[in-house]
């Protein structure tokens, strides 16, 4: 059942993004930033955790998961290091996404040429 839920949730989130792109003047940059912040807000209310439990990867493949990871890392950082944790812990959980995006992009850029 989780496979169907994953399809449904990520599909609906993408459809919402398409709806915003088609009906407003917002660009893909606006939509992804908006969804990231929205992910952090949903995580704040404890909803995102439930979405992941319900839809699994359906909730983690979309960009809002980045906001969720940032928020959760902030909380985990505070629990471990106190106030310092907000600064030192915020990027810990999302490190994989940031580092892999940087490494893959850089290496591929050295190998490939841009297509016109």
């Amino acid at each position: 059942m989780i496979f169907f839920n994953a399809f449904l949730l990520s599909g609906l989130i993408c459809m919402l993004g398409q709806f915003i792109l088609d009906n407003t003047k917002l660009t893909p940059g606006h939509v992804t930033s908006l969804f990231t912040v929205f992910g952090a807000i949903l995580s704040f209310f404890g909803i995102y955790e439930k979405l992941i439990k319900w839809a699994g990867a359906g909730a983690t493949v979309v960009i809002s998961n980045f906001g969720h990871l940032l928020y959760q890392a902030g909380i985990a950082g505070f629990q471990e290091f106190g106030i310092l944790g907000f600064f030192s812990g915020l990027l810990t959980k999302s490190s994989a996404a940031i580092v892999s995006a940087i490494i893959f992009s850089f290496v591929l850029t050295l190998v490939f040429k841009p297509k016109d």
Partner: protein
């Protein structure tokens, strides 16, 4: 021809984007990514005996690799025009924005070109995500303890 007539003519000639079709395409492509992602996570958890978090992190890396490779090979832009938000909203869009910026500015030099423009498009996601999460997590600690 006055302005009103001209505007009318432009409206008639400009091809109308089929919003319903776009929404359905975005739903199916986005859904497919979520579905395949769940299949990958299930395989990682059962065959490789990974923890939940570990499997999701690997999935995230795979998706970013997929987005970067598709962009570098030059067919991501074609895919985006077909799949629309179905590829922009998943993490593939994040990878695409970094790789395409890096490729576009490579010719302007490693520092002033590639380095300075690497996060040109993805910067807003990082900036606003970090700002929102920072203040929300402080608020969260204050409220939930």
């Amino acid at each position: 021809m006055n302005q009103d007539e001209y505007k009318k003519l432009v409206d008639e000639i400009t091809p109308k984007e089929n919003k319903l079709k776009n929404a359905i395409v975005a739903f199916f492509i986005g859904g497919l990514i979520g579905f395949v992602g769940q299949v990958v996570v299930t395989i990682l958890m059962t065959s490789f005996e990974m923890e939940n978090v570990e499997a999701y992190t690997w999935l995230c890396i795979f998706i970013i690799l997929f987005g970067s490779v598709c962009t570098a090979l030059g067919f991501f832009d074609n895919l985006v025009t077909k799949a629309k938000a179905g590829l922009i909203v998943p993490t593939t869009g994040f990878a695409h924005s970094i790789t395409s910026a890096a490729l576009d500015y490579k010719k302007e030099g490693m520092i002033t070109g590639l380095g300075a423009n690497f996060f040109k498009l993805a910067g807003s996601v990082l900036l606003y995500g970090i700002i929102a999460a920072f203040f929300l997590s402080i608020l969260g600690v204050m409220i939930y303890g």
